[in-house]
Amino acid sequence: MLELVVIGNGMVGHRLVQALCDRDSAGTWHITVLGEETRPAYDRVALSSYVDGVSAEDLTLPSLTVDLHLGDPAVAIDRDTRRITTETGRVLPYDALVLATGSVPFVPPVPGRDLPGCFVYRTLDDLDAIKAAAADAVARPGAGRRSAVVVGGGLLGLEAARALRSLGLSPQVVEIAPRLMPVQVDEGGGALLRRLVETEELQVRCGVSVNGIAEDRGRLVATLSDGVELDADLVVFSAGIRPADALARAAGLPVGERGGVLVDNRCRTSDEHVWAIGEVAALEGRTYGLVAPGYAMAEVVADRLLGGPATMTPEELDMSTQLKMLGVDVASFGDAQATTPGALEVVVNDPVAGTYAKLVISDDARTLLGGVLVGDASKYAALRPLVGSPLPADPVALIAPGGVELGADALPDSAQICSCNSVTKGAIVHAIGDGADTVAALKSCTRAGTSCGSCVPLLKKLLIDSGVQVSKALCEHFAQSRAELFEIVAGSGIRTFSELVSRFGQGRGCDICKPAVASILASLGTGHVHDGEQATLQDTNDHFLANLQRNGTYSVVPRLPGGEVSPAQLITIGEVARDFGLYTKITGGQRIDMFGARVEQLPAIWRRLVDAGFESGHAYGKSLRTVKSCVGTTWCRYGVQDSVGLAVALELRYRGLRAPHKFKSGVSGCARECAEARSKDFGIIATEEGWNLYVGGNGGFTPRHAELLASDLDTETLVKLIDRYLMFYIRTADRLQRTAPWIESLDGGLDHLRAVVVEDSLGICADLEAAMEQHVGSYADEWRGVLEDEEKLARFVSFVNAPDTPDPLVQTREERGQRVPVALGLPGVGA
């Protein structure tokens, strides 16, 4: 076997090893990988999602079976004897060496850049340090918001600013160039971009640089070239990167003018045993700070190491980028700066709509060379693969609002659909021909769509264009969609799962269709969720009427309508939590959560709560959670309506209502919106005249603001519209579909919804209202129902043969004065 040593365990090094392992069936290479970081390779492109709670494990790339030495960087290469020495003194001989050391952040040489509180933004460890410093800053006493200075307004700087903002700081972005994202975006795009990103919490200063950083009473002060001084709790440098080529320089390998190990079109350095890929490589003198070109290099070297003929040229490298997660769409692709001789530019700038689009085309106006999209990048997926191809339509029509919609059929087979993983349209069409009939199947067999995800819409289009019927079947037991099953159950009078599955499905169901049918039955008012066979359909939350937590215990959440709670009730909650050793926390929806209850404790806990006048808060169900409220006219100087009174009334009206997904509401007493009603599935904001009703706001993975459905409503009309809206949602949405994607999926969107529920265009409003009346009339507290029924109570035991023995695996420890679970080991997995 030949020895291959890879220095660097980043995204590109990892891709090389993966490609080689996949193809080296003859076992030619024995691979050793050296990593400077102490963690296995992870998705650096998605690094910023780490501040939003995506864990390091989630970011970790699939593990490979190679000799991997983490936390042990290479410190010397001896090219004469072909040996690598590592920091811990390991000596590794090689037949081939691949440098994949990536880059290091560039920190401009300003005084004070090494002070505590100054950070770079490159690794998970950097983010851990930034998170800790931000948490300290936020916790520090003193008035006002905590702030940060971000040095650099490029792609990375804007991402860092967004991350700092979600950590609770107000960032100021300082960019030396006259506009943001100077590398990717042109002047027009940059100006609009700035307008779109700038908010009270995120400010931008262009055309100035940071001259120095000083410590001042435990905080930092950054002095700018225009004399302005900015206070900051931390400073993050994202002013560019430099290839990590020190090791190669020391070994005498030639480097490019602006750094980077020089490689030829095979990614080979001047030494035939040494290769360089990714950000450390300078292909024909130029380095690339994006992952797609690095992946392309990795593929070339994998091929070469197995004797293949692969080569690459700078022209083939894709430099497209899309800014992630700033709430503003920005994309640039191909020759965005129009550097090709004779290139023409076509611009459509709509400052009112907040969109800017530019296409760069060849001098004969026939070929697309590149483009920039700001404000709305929905056309990115369709336009980017067209770079280098003939224009399928007039360029203005391609980017004008309401212009030509590009279908996937406009693309040539050679067009790259997924630039992160270089997958062409041809490869995808081929995979579809071979039977890949879902996006998930395409992802696993071609890798398309597995990195940044921007090509997923195009994958869907290609599937549809190929005539693949995207199945609406709920699961293997039902060929129908949830909405169809709802109609079947409502119309046929069937009220048991067994009858439904034997007449309209097959088999005995699963964890997908059973809870869906349970929800349908519950919306149609079929008694207690544990009655008869219905008990077997409920998932564990609905079975124990509590929320399952990761260690197998449950949380207990009594309903506090509108967030109102009396002192006596508060005391009861405190006493219950104390007596059962529960961890308590105020929720985001104005409730009190009690964590850590074991199955066998739930009835005793709820008996005390029910006696104190509490009822189930349904925090466990796909049902109404909370109606959040501000204090409105009762207390607030600004309130124009009684927001508390309305919130309580709405919460009581819709409590217990089962829906395809959990849903929430909020009521604010005036336009100041203290209840954040517009982030809810339905939100109400008081006006001088009455109420404005907003619908379709969601938290979750894709947060959405609610949109105005109707304004200045009196209370009676408001309630009527909400009744109709909720029932229409419950009847027609898909399983687990939240209100925002549901409204989007309606043909005609919000306008259609308005036509149905406000103007009664389908003539079903009376029906919807009657269904809601039926729900309201038949509501009964689920916990009371359990406590009054010995047979149901008998299910709340830990062990059927030892009913009061606690689960021995549940262990707790103390943290900040409360009991929290000891993390469970994972027996038998991951070894």
């Binding site: 293997e476 037991h477 067994s498 088999g507 005995r508 169901g509 699963c510 964890d511 269709c513 059973k514 809870p515 066979e533 008990a535 077997t536 359909l537 998932d539 564990t540 079975h543 124990f544 399952l548 990761r550 260690n551 197998g552 299910r795 035991v797 830990s798 062990f799 059927v800 043969n801 030892a802 023995t805 689960d807 021995p808 695996l809 549940v810 469970l824 080991g825 994972l826 027996p827 038998g828 997995v829």
Partner: protein, 115 residues
């Protein structure tokens, strides 16, 4: 077959009619946690109660169903599906739950544990 019979120690758990069709119960046998399920067709199955993916003792609280004709239970934590017949995880070939023999004598349900 005889191999299993001779190496098993039977423990009586509860009357069979304590088990609701298509819903599980947990039982503690010595220090082993067992999840027991009575299915629609009357058959009874016992597998380990500890979910190998989360480490929590919750398998008895999963939803019972079938996949491709095999009776299954889905872990309520991260939703992986396991065969009730032999404990195999149908979503990850490397993982399985222990599976235990059961018998009914005089209306009482017994679970067999290896000696």
């Amino acid at each position: 077959m005889t191999a299993t019979e001779t190496t098993v120690r039977w423990a009586t758990i509860c009357p069979l009619d304590r088990l609701m069709p298509e819903r599980g119960v947990a039982a503690l046998v010595g220090d082993v946690q067992v999840a027991i399920f009575r299915l629609h067709d009357g058959s009874v199955h016992a597998v380990g109660n500890v979910d190998p993916f989360s480490g929590a003792a919750v398998m008895s609280r999963g939803i019972v169903g079938d996949r491709g004709g095999v009776s299954t239970v889905a872990s309520p934590i991260y939703k992986q599906v396991f065969s009730l017949v032999d404990g195999r995880c149908l979503d990850d070939a490397d993982v399985s739950l222990p599976s235990y023999p059961v018998r009914v004598a005089d209306g009482q349900l017994d679970v067999g544990l290896p000696w």
